[in-house]
Each structure stands twice: as C-alpha cells, then as structure tokens.
Symmetry: C2
Subunit: 138 residues, 2 copies
DNA sequence: CCTTGTTTTGACAATGGTTGTCAATCTTTA
DNA sequence: TAAAGATTGACAACCATTGTCAAAACAAGG
C-alpha cells in the first residue's frame, strides 16, 4: 500500500487527532475505526465516532496509514514501519501482521498492465493465513 | 480467485437461477448484485433482490464465479473463462477485465508465508488501471 | 397426474459500517 | 482579544447485505 501519496493537506492539531494518532502508534496490528473508537472510550479519551472515521480517512488519503479491507467488508488501519510501497501478511485470526516487500511482484503487475495497454495502474495484494501462534493453539 | 472450490452443492433448477446465470453468461465485465438485479428488472425477468444475492453467493462459494471487492466496498461478480486460479486486470472506469495468470506471484506468496511460519494461506491480488479505450477518450 | 416432503422465493424488516448534517466549539492568525 | 475558518459530535441518513417466514415452486413417487 501507500502508493502515490498526495501532498499532506495541512491540518490543525487537535486533542482528538492526537488521541487517534496515539492509539495507532501503539497498536501493532490492523484495527478498525469502530475498534479504535472503543479503545478510546475505555481510556476515557472520548472522541466522536464520526471524528475517528474522518481522521483515519485523512491519514489514509495522506498515505500515513495503510488500509486493509477485511473479507467482512470493513476497513482496518495500521501505521506501518516502512514508508515505501509494501504489502501485508496478515493472520486471519489475530490480525498479526508482517510487512513484506515484493519487487518482483511490482515489476510483474507493471508489465502485465503495459502488455494490455492499461495505464495509470495500481494494485492491491494481501496475503492471509494463520500465524505460527494461532496455528499452534489450534 | 477460485481457490479451493468446495464440491458443488446440489441445487434445484429454477427460473430465477437460470435468469441470473443468463445475465452472467452474457456480461463480460464484473457486475454487482444490485446492477444485475436492475438488468433483470429492465428485461422483465423479475427476480427478488434477496434471491439475486443468494444465487451469486452460492455461485461464488462453488467457485463458479469470481468475486471482486471494489474500493467502494461492494462486491462484483464475473463468470470467468479460465477455471484455474488467476487474477484480474480491471479498468477503473468501464470495468473491462483481462484475466491474468501469475505463477511467479503464486510461488512468491507461498514462500513469503512459509518464511514467516504462516499456514493455510490465501491471497487477494487485483490490478486496476485505465483500459486503452478509456485512456484514449480522456 | 396428484401427493408429499423439501427447497426456494420474495417482500419486508433489520443489521452494520460508513457518511452527511449543522450548530456549537476550538485553532489559528492578526 | 477578535474575527475567520476548521473541526467536532450527536444524530440522522445511507446503502449494501443479510435475516425472516409464510407462500410458491420443485422433485420424486405413487
Ligand atoms: Zn503497511
Ligand atoms: Zn494469529
Ligand atoms: Zn476471474
Ligand atoms: Zn475502460
């Protein structure tokens, strides 16, 4: 993810955005807007649900977080370590995530698109499975 | 798509399923349940919306159609020519679709998963862009 | 053809994630 | 401190999808 990120739109520093940032910072795995909102509530750092949605949306637009669409159709967000384009190996059960780079895949998608005359291309690629921990306890 | 398709569950032949099949058969591009339902309506072949959803769901479960989750979060279905696992190069604008096979990508995802001890893996990969036709007229 | 047991249908309600609304509130800048 | 503008949040609205369940359709025998 994090392809062609737009120039970061200037924004104001607010308590709410800092709160969302803070949770993202310390959350290792992908988390949905609803879940992030719940985390904030339990911590007493109350932020409106709509605000959580808007903040995550903006962060995603700016390429500051990666977005993953789960099979159930809900979006999950994550602040990744690496800034360059990469993909994710995600545990279907506990969401444990490994960031992976695949230069060969990038080249392949480009060549396939070119071969068929498609331009302005982007791609989505996610790998799902059971992490070692989850596989062991089942 | 079309990975590990389950044994096809036996079903009854009904007017409604035939109607959905017919539309899928003659539709070259990915189409959503709502759109397919609309097509049926305009043709006078009235089928309940819930039935369209159920029918497509079953076809997808049986691996008889491929499913694509658009960025707006809605599912689109397509009866593809090839039966083996493959991916799609889809026009962002008109939905024109090219089926592509990428053995190298398949191998890569498997090795990445193995390397990190993930098991029972699957992956999603779609390429989006502007097809030659749409690119030309813009 | 009937009959019977089972599957399927469809109108409608309900769900659930997400977005729109808009007055009140907060930031920033002057 | 004040004015201009961005942000917030409670709530309603949206919209794709699923659940409900009685009525209709199907398949297999008789
Ligand atoms: Zn990432
Ligand atoms: Zn796990
Ligand atoms: Zn396909
Ligand atoms: Zn096109």
């Amino acid at each position: 993810m994090s392809l062609q990120q737009q120039p970061v739109k200037e924004q104001r520093r607010t308590r709410q955005r800092a709160a969302v940032d803070e949770v993202l910072e310390e959350t290792e795995d992908f988390i949905s807007a609803q879940d992030l909102h719940a985390v904030l509530r339990t911590r007493g750092m109350s932020v409106g649900l709509a605000t959580v949605y808007r903040t995550l949306q903006t962060l995603a637009d700016n390429g500051q977080v990666d977005v993953l669409h789960t099979s159930s159709g809900e979006a999950a967000y994550r602040r990744c370590a690496r800034d360059e384009h990469h993909h994710h190996l995600v545990c279907r059960s506990c969401k444990a995530t490994v960031e992976v780079a695949g230069p060969a895949v990038e080249r392949w998608t480009k060549s396939v698109a070119k071969e068929h005359g498609y331009v302005d291309v982007a791609h989505t690629l996610e790998i799902f499975g059971l992490c070692p921990r989850c596989a062991a306890q089942q």
